[in-house]
């Protein structure tokens, strides 16, 4: 097993861990953090798999994609946190009410 493949597997693991937390935890901050962990998992897969063979130089395109992805993730997190704070102010708790938990 090459190092790159190992990192890619870790990325898949992070993705699944985040997904589990997202479904199980009710608190919105935990859900938002779970998204960030999932995103990091995907980015790790992208970066790790950029190195196709043991001695080849890594492909720079996925790295550029990850940078774009990080920008998107930061803006999404900012929006999510703002919404969470407003919701907490309005309802008194940072959880989604009602049936059908995410």
């Amino acid at each position: 097993m090459s190092t790159a493949f190992f990192y890619a597997l870790v990325g898949v693991g992070l993705f699944c861990l985040g997904l589990y937390t997202l479904i199980v935890q009710a608190h919105l901050l935990r859900k938002i953090l779970a998204f960030n962990v999932m995103g990091s998992g995907v980015f790790l897969v992208l970066v790790a798999l950029a190195k196709r063979t043991e001695d080849a130089l890594p492909d720079p395109v996925p790295h550029a994609m990850v940078i774009t992805g990080i920008v998107v993730a930061v803006s999404a997190t900012a929006l999510a946190l703002t919404l969470m704070l407003k919701l907490a102010k309005e309802t008194g708790k940072a959880e989604l009410a009602g049936e059908g938990e995410e």
Binding site: F15, A76, G98, G100
Partner: protein
């Protein structure tokens, strides 16, 4: 003069114009309304320009900054892109006219920048030629849409927006994972190149599963529709109209593109059958839920869940009847966009008028808001699929595809969906004629709001007479492939 008009890179204008408009609205909120209206009108002209360009020169491809496909970003427009862009421009124009009457300051200053950003994201999405660029535009669209749906700041709106944000982020992440796998497997994100290189390997199956699930979640395909009714019902009326008409169509468009260019040729009958089954379930479940609602906006939102189901019924039919099923999808998407936007605008009018949207308490609105109720009835004709309307042509083509292949099960679902739709449309119309038990104090509805709804509803009906030229337009560049089965 005409020559200059043909040389302008309209595709670039379509993205840059709303972006700069959004910035201008953000910087000068006092003039946001007029800047917004001017931008949206110019967008409609630019779409016309692009249509003309494509009809003159054929399929359009533009390498941004002069960097070509493998490394740079390409803009690409064929018949399907044009149809979606035209749909966006038309709905956008009507919703903008509506919004001038609907939003007062300070809400107007928040609405216009976000709305123009959403338009920029939608246009960029329909012009994107590679799957990573599609991801970026998908996220741009999602964030703008979530912010718009939280606009009123009420408890319901914030909860709905939060749920929507969680669903949309999860969908995009799954999609991005698929992009990562496809890039690793085949060394490109350009759809045309991927289509040529793709082979049936485990990586492709994983990418297919992740991307389809993510996009189905964003398109609110049953059983992933849980986020749609609360978000769409609690948003301000013009925002609900745009979310239902355009935003869910955008993620469906990506799924359709992936299918046509990348996954379809691999022969994935199992997945196609599953999508068809979920579509059928969505048609029935969404319609029954719509029939059970007591509030108009929720009724219209569940009707969206049902109508989305129709789009997915085409997947199991496409292999056997090819172009007919995809043509049906294009027609259904367009006519649903117009009719559903009209319905949400009508709901907004009734909400403004009576201060509530309880269906049973509609108080003789047919005499007091005749234009609005006419708009609802016309939009209802298209949603039910009665002739002459866009919805009729779309459902007819789909039914034809189903009957050609002897898929009676799907045909029965389509018929039942139509009957149930008639049920919920007439439920609303029935109460529009009667006097409510408790009379309400009514407010006046601005003429712009009534006419915008009527404009969209009439457009949905007129679509029923434009089948031949529209299908010819969609066929530019053969996005659905060359049909072996004669229609």
């Amino acid at each position: 003069m005409a020559a200059i008009f043909l040389e302008i890179p309209w595709a670039v204008v379509l993205i840059l114009l709303p972006l700069s408009g959004a910035m201008a609205c953000f910087l000068w909120p006092a003039v946001a309304k007029s800047v917004g209206l001017v931008t949206v009108s110019m967008l409609a002209l630019s779409v016309a320009g692009l249509v003309w360009q494509v009809m003159e020169y054929g399929v359009y491809r533009h390498a941004v900054g002069g960097w070509g496909a493998p490394l740079g970003i390409d803009l690409y427009a064929d018949g399907l892109s044009l149809l979606m862009l035209a749909m966006t421009a038309l709905v956008g124009l009507a919703v903008s006219i509506y919004a001038t009457g609907y939003f007062e300051q300070p809400h107007a200053a928040r609405f216009w920048p976000l709305w123009l950003l959403l338009l920029a994201a939608l246009n960029a999405l329909f012009l994107a030629a590679d799957i990573f660029n599609l991801y970026v535009t998908l996220e741009l669209m999602g964030l703008a849409a979530v912010a718009l749906s939280a606009l009123s700041g009420s408890r319901d709106a914030l909860g709905g927006a939060m749920r929507y944000l969680l669903a949309t982020l999860l969908g995009s992440l799954a999609y991005l994972f698929g992009v990562a796998l496809l890039y690793h497997g085949f060394g490109s994100v350009d759809m045309a190149i991927l289509g040529q290189r793709l082979e049936a390997t485990p990586i492709v199956w994983a990418a297919l599963a992740l991307m389809t699930t993510g996009l189905a979640l964003k398109t609110a395909l049953f059983p992933f529709h849980f986020w749609l009714p609360p978000a769409h019902a609690s948003a301000p009326a013009p925002v609900s109209a745009v979310l239902s008409a355009l935003v869910v169509k955008a993620s469906f468009y990506i799924l359709l593109r992936l299918w046509l260019e990348i996954f379809g040729p691999l022969g994935v009958e199992g997945v196609e059958t599953l999508l068809g089954l979920l579509g059928a379930a969505a048609v029935l479940w969404g319609s029954v839920q719509a029939l059970r609602q007591t509030r108009l906006k929720l009724l219209v939102a569940y009707s969206t869940v049902a109508q989305i189901g129709y789009l997915f019924l085409a997947f199991p039919l496409a292999a056997g009847s090819g172009i007919t099923a995809w043509n049906a999808v294009a027609y259904l998407a367009l006519s649903h966009a117009l009719a559903k936007a009209a319905m949400f605008l009508v709901a907004g009018n009734l909400l403004r008028f009576g201060g509530h949207d309880r269906i049973a308490d509609l108080d003789r609105v047919v005499q007091r808001l005749p234009l609005t109720v006419t708009a609802f009835a016309l939009a209802g004709v298209s949603i039910m699929g009665l002739p002459p309307s866009g919805g009729f042509i779309g459902k007819w083509l789909l039914l034809e595809a189903a009957l050609q292949q002897g898929r009676w099960d799907l045909a029965v679902v389509m018929m039942l969906g139509g009957l149930l739709a008639a049920g919920y449309v007439f439920k609303v119309l029935g109460f529009a004629f009667t006097q409510a038990g408790v009379p309400h104090e009514s407010k006046t509805v601005p003429a712009s709001m009534e006419w915008a709804a009527l404009l969209l509803a009439v457009a949905a009906i007129v679509l029923g007479f434009l089948a031949a030229p529209l299908l010819a337009l969609v066929g530019i560049g053969a996005p659905f492939g060359i049909s072996e089965v004669a229609p």
